[in-house]
């Protein structure tokens, strides 16, 4: 983007500033990566090594014990599968219903459009809050079912507005031409609009999936059975409540030993649970950027 002119004309202070800028950015990169690397290395070290030597690069100190215990116990794996189900279901409902509504509201002169918009926008400014929502979920018999995670909050007004903005940006001539050819609204939507909407569908699905994958609160208040727990709730027991899953320490009796293993398991469960998203997000980088661009159009 930058042309050569400002390279030549940079004054001494400017070049100094640019150098300081680079140094600070390098420091920021270090501050971001250091804790992540510490956890990654820590997950391969036995607790005794980590306590006495700290991070050790000597291969003799390395162990897969933490990971083996996690996979032998199975609660993290089960949480993983549950989370895929919740986040997947949530994303499908969220994206499907939001783009349908967003498309309808993007059509010019649809009678009652303003009223519908008002109906949706009100919810951005006011909500019943935690207690009334909980009582409703209970009343609907959805406590301790996946529906309590998948349905509430799936249709977000924000998503409807984003998709509406996107559809409005598509050239109108396409629709007009199809209409002159006698195509119905449904056909126009399925055959012309949808194929053009892959970016917005992908962006909305991505944000919905990540948001649901990383949240724990609804699951904590609505789910009772451990077998239904999503990954984040299992992690909460391990990381925050310091509860060791029984299957992870079946072979251990001494309390001190259990405590040490529990520490190691914390590291490896952070790695196991975070790695999938951390490996995948670089491939989606351009979609995140696209997402904010659509959002900033208003």
């Amino acid at each position: 983007m930058k042309s050569k002119i400002d390279l030549v004309n940079n004054s001494k202070t400017d070049r100094m500033l640019l150098l300081i800028n680079k140094i600070i950015l390098i420091l920021i990169v270090l501050i971001i990566t250091a804790p992540l690397l510490y956890v990654l290395f820590g997950s391969f070290l036995s607790p005794n090594v980590l306590l006495t030597k700290g991070i050790s690069l000597n291969p003799d100190d390395w162990t897969l014990d933490g990971y083996i215990r996690i996979f032998e116990d199975g609660s993290i794996v089960r949480g993983f599968l549950n989370s895929i189900m919740y986040a997947g279901g949530f994303s499908i409902v969220s994206v499907l219903f939001s783009i349908l509504a967003g498309y309808a509201l993007s059509v010019d002169n649809l009678a009652g459009k303003k009223l519908f918009m008002l109906f949706f926008i009100v919810t951005m400014f006011f909500n019943g809050g935690m207690i009334p929502t909980y009582l409703l979920i209970k009343e609907l018999g959805m406590i301790n079912t996946p529906w309590a995670i998948i349905l509430p909050g799936a249709v977000s007004v924000w998503n409807i507005i984003l998709s509406r903005t996107y559809f409005k940006g598509l050239p109108n001539e396409l629709k007009e031409a199809a209409r002159i050819d006698g195509a119905s609204d449904l056909k126009i939507f399925l055959k012309i609009i949808l194929p053009l909407s892959k970016p917005i569908i992908f962006v909305l699905a991505l944000y919905a999936f990540i948001g649901q994958w990383n949240s724990y609160f609804n699951a904590m208040i609505y789910l009772e059975d451990q077998s239904l727990y999503p990954l984040q709730l299992v992690l909460r027991e391990i990381l925050i409540q310091n509860e060791v899953q029984p299957g992870m320490i079946a072979d251990q009796l001494a309390r001190a030993e259990i405590q040490k293993i529990a520490e190691m398991i914390k590291y490896s469960s952070i790695v196991v649970s975070s790695l999938p998203l951390l490996i995948m997000y670089p491939f989606f980088q351009k979609y995140f950027e696209k997402g904010v661009m659509v959002g900033s159009l208003k």
């Binding site: 004054s11 971001i32 724990y216 950027e289």
Partner: protein, 315 residues
């Protein structure tokens, strides 16, 4: 006379006809709206009605309709309770400090990234600083407990210079700093995306022209880059103010320990404990309503102020 009447009826039937046709023609579009309307009605509007229990003495047996109205008793109880001031101030302080520190950093970060000449370097730096955004709240909180515990790596380092380890996670004095610093660490990079995107729309010729006219780097950043960001900053600021009372509830709850409660108990965690855990439904709903009303007021105020200053508005 008869002619006029008949003309009118013809007109009316025509209108009716076309309205019928209209609805029929757009039937599918209305159908598209149905699922979203139904879900929003159930999960957003019904709880708005349910919030009336804040003014009732709700008992699960009698239901929302059957419970007795008691007016503002729960609100008065909350306002007069000995911990009201502490909880309210904790909420305000936590959110205000987070906004004060967390809001400008992504803007500065974007301006700094924008100065990186090589596109590839810039992209890689961005990629790295986005990473923590993809960690969950539970993982971030877990990492804080690991790193900041009395025997953790940070204290191991600090005890080289100090006699006692710092009780980051239990001393209320450190709660807000830990909370805000970790939020900045987690989201500042990702939040800068929107500003970086806005900056990429700046015409490089503007900078060239300014440089030829003798403008320094700082002058160009202030007079060109920041001006371009102004509308984005305004809109995001209004949104941030509107969300101030609901800030970081999930993380605050995870970072709470019995010891740090004097600083970490905020309105939302209090609602959860009193309303859901203790079954004090009406009281919890009242405290929650109190919180949403304040959020709404803040949003309206922020919108008006920004509109006056800047001409940008949210709605």
């Amino acid at each position: 006379m008869a002619r006029i009447v008949s003309e009118k009826t013809i007109q009316a039937t025509k209108n009716k006809e076309s309205r019928k046709n209209y609805i029929k023609k757009n039937f599918v579009l209305y159908l598209f709206l149905v699922p979203a309307v139904v879900l929003v009605f159930i999960f957003n509007y019904i709880p708005m009605y349910g919030v009336t229990i804040a003014f009732k003495d709700f008992s699960p047996i009698k239901g929302i309709m059957g419970s007795e109205w008691i007016g503002f008793d729960h609100f008065i109880n909350f306002l007069q309770s000995p911990n009201f001031q502490q909880i309210f101030m904790n909420t305000i302080k936590l959110s205000a400090f987070e906004l004060l520190i967390g809001f400008p950093i992504p803007i500065i970060l974007a301006l700094m990234l924008n100065q990186l000449r090589r596109a590839k370097v810039k992209k890689n730096v961005q990629l790295i600083i986005y990473a923590p955004y993809f960690l969950s709240t539970v993982v971030i909180s877990g990492m804080l407990f690991i790193f900041l515990s009395p025997a953790g790596p940070i204290n191991e380092f600090l005890t080289l210079f100090m006699d006692e380890p710092v009780a980051f996670m239990t001393d209320p004095a450190y709660f807000r700093s830990v909370f805000i610093a970790s939020s900045v660490w987690q989201v500042a990079g990702f939040s800068s995306i929107i500003y970086v995107a806005a900056l990429s729309n700046v015409d490089p010729q503007l900078h060239d022209a300014a440089t030829i006219d003798g403008a320094s780097l700082l002058q160009r950043i202030i007079h060109i880059d920041l001006q371009v960001l102004k509308p984005t900053i305004a809109v995001l600021f209004i949104l941030a103010i509107g969300g101030i009372m609901g800030v970081g509830f999930e993380k605050a709850y995870l970072l709470q320990t019995d010891m740090n409660l004097p600083a970490s108990e905020i309105i939302d965690t209090y609602v959860y404990k009193r309303g859901l855990q203790a079954g004090d439904w009406s009281f919890g709903a009242a405290v929650g309503l109190f919180n949403s009303v304040i959020s709404l007021l803040l949003l309206v105020i922020a919108n008006t102020v920004v509109k006056k200053l800047n001409g940008e508005t949210l709605y």
